[in-house]
Amino acid sequence: MNAVLRETTMVAPLSVQGLHHAYEGNPVLAGIDLALEPGSVLGLIGRNGAGKSTLIRAMVGLLEPSEGKASVFGEPALRLSDATKGRLSYVPQQPEALAWLTAEQMLDYIGRFYPRWDRSFAKQLMQRWQIPQNRLLAKLSPGERQRVELIRALASQPDLLVLDEPAAALDPVARRELLREVAVRAGEFGTTVLFSTHIVSDLERVASDIAFVHEGRLILRSTVDDTKERFMRLWLPPRLSAAAPEIALSHRQHGDGSISLVVERDSEGQWPQASHLQGARIDPLGLEDLFVEIAE
């Protein structure tokens, strides 16, 4: 049954084109094109204020961008059918909805709208994540509140899961559990996942793809593996600074005249000439270092 479902839905679960947005004249998104492949897990990374949350909200149709198009499973994000809404779960950074209900009441109520709602999973996770069942959502701590929302999002067994900074409110054990859920669902049910985070190692575990957002633009979009293999940090001492390759993702001159650059393999997999010079240093870059280098 699942296979049939998937064949008819090879259209991108999420896609945006030419997205621009501004808050009171301050540009937040400055022309973003992005599409997710079915079954991929895309980690969105960027500094605070880079535009991640705005981008996510525009992608799922909770915000009307000043310019550009957004679609969810091929439908305009701002006018989703109920059927498509039922396939999507979104967890905002600060959940506020239905605060006058208890966690148990909320899950019970919401569950009725989802054909694939997994009641026993919700119950089990409520216990494991120690959510007080009979307290009003409004009285829960922000962390508990976000955990309830994650339970809601997972229990509906969505085809598309969108999480805005899900790790912020979780302790390391719960975070690992969430990552495990995400990983296994992507593998087994082909769930497509978009999540933003500033914890790069979380992203490195489960993401198949990565997108760096910086100052409202997408400065890098690739698979996680490819990103790790394609970039290196090249350091050149002062006497070699003239040999610095012209094309580099970042270019930093240090006080002593030496230079650090983020360089990329060419189409044949070779590093730029300068990296073979005597005295040049070349170091592998983890994603976090890469991000710091190019986002500074």
Partner: protein, 127 residues
């Protein structure tokens, strides 16, 4: 073999699929997992380490094409029936290639001539 035998360092600059293949090479070369032994399923490895299953599949696929693993129909991946002794010297030397390249690179960076480095290495090897 149990999934816990693998160690995953997500923050390493080395992609996770390469970390897995590298560890399989060593575990097999070192005899910690024997020919014919069943590997944990992709799901088990992905679940245990909370990593993307596609990464595990990719690692298994690569290990299979290297001849380290064999796919048994209906069972999963097992360690290939190749004995360590039947691996050629060139194959075993190949396992050291990344370390040798790193050593060569650092030697150049330190502007050291090859000779004292080789002398020291010979000594470490007990020759």
């Amino acid at each position: 073999m149990d999934a816990s035998l693998l160690t995953i360092q997500p923050a390493s600059a080395e992609p996770i699929y390469r970390q897995i293949v590298e560890q399989l090479r060593r575990l097999i070369a070192g005899g910690q997992i024997a020919p014919g032994e069943l590997l944990p399923s992709v799901r088990d490895v992905a679940g245990f380490h909370a990593i993307n299953p596609m990464t595990v599949s990719r690692a298994y696929g690569m290990a299979e094409s290297e001849g380290l693993l064999e796919r048994l129909r209906g069972k999963g991946m097992v360690v290939a029936q190749v004995h360590r002794s039947t691996q050629t010297q060139a194959q075993r030397l190949g396992l050291l290639e990344p370390q040798l390249q790193a050593l060569a690179r650092q030697t150049t960076e330190l502007e050291l001539p090859a000779e004292p480095v080789l002398r020291r290495l010979s000594k470490l090897l007990g020759e």
